[in-house]
């Protein structure tokens, strides 16, 4: 899965919780979940839980804390997918 495919899978998950719906259309790797999309910390947890389900991966606490932007999310998902495939 390349970055743009990952981004397309992320969009509907994030859109569920974003209060700034217009920003969803303009989402890029630089989009910040809290500042740009107005997702609160509680809903950020739900985004991460939905990512776990969608990609069949488990996100640890440290990765969760880093997952504040689209690019960080993509990097973490890629890493976890690789770990899964290497197993």
């Amino acid at each position: 899965m390349n970055n743009s495919e990952l981004l397309e899978k992320l969009k509907p998950i994030v859109a569920n919780y974003a209060h700034n719906k217009e920003a969803i259309d303009d989402i890029t790797e630089h989009t910040d979940f809290i500042n740009d999309l107005k997702i609160n910390s509680a809903n950020l947890v739900d985004v991460v839980l939905d990512i776990e389900e969608e990609f069949g991966i488990e996100i640890d606490n440290l990765s969760m804390e880093k997952m504040l932007t689209v690019s960080a999310a993509i990097e973490i998902i890629e890493g976890k997918l690789k770990e899964k495939n290497d197993r």
Binding site: A42, D46, V48, L49
Partner: protein, 148 residues
């Protein structure tokens, strides 16, 4: 933490404490009771001459028993040890029956998940006739400090 320690740790007092007793608590859920005394102040205004317990108070009662007590228990029994504060982050409640002054209710909460400090619970409130008066889903963040 045992039930008495949890009740003592609750950050509420009169007129905003809505937990009388914890009947059961474990890592999967909590059950507790509260009696809405007839002299509670909000009955004077909700509604004029027709006192009924406000839905927000029923929601608060479910949150204090189901979410806050459970959050204190879960954080207080975690490896790191210190019980936390619980900040309400969302509610979705359906109301089925009114609760009148003097009624005693039981709240039953079941944990859906507790991950990344977020506690999500399914809750329901049952009256003395055994009827479900309201039910729904409540969540909050369990934090180390109040309001944060």
């Amino acid at each position: 933490m045992n039930k008495e320690e949890i009740l003592a740790y609750l950050p509420y007092t009169e007129p905003f404490l809505f937990v009388d007793e914890l009947l059961e608590i474990d890592e999967n859920g909590a059950t507790g009771t509260f009696t809405f005394r007839k002299d509670l102040d909000f009955y004077k205004g909700h509604f004029k001459d027709h006192p009924v317990t406000p839905g927000v108070i029923l929601t608060e009662t479910m949150a204090q028993i189901g979410l806050v007590c459970l959050g204190i228990y879960l954080s207080g029994t975690a490896v790191s040890g210190a019980p936390g504060h619980v900040m309400l982050t969302s509610t979705a409640i359906d109301f089925m029956k009114p609760v009148f002054p003097g009624e005693r209710v039981k709240v039953v909460a079941e944990k859906v998940y507790f991950r990344f400090k977020k506690l999500n619970c399914n809750v329901q409130m049952i009256n003395e006739a055994g009827e479900v008066v309201c039910r729904g889903n409540i969540s909050g963040m369990v934090t180390n400090k109040m309001n944060g």
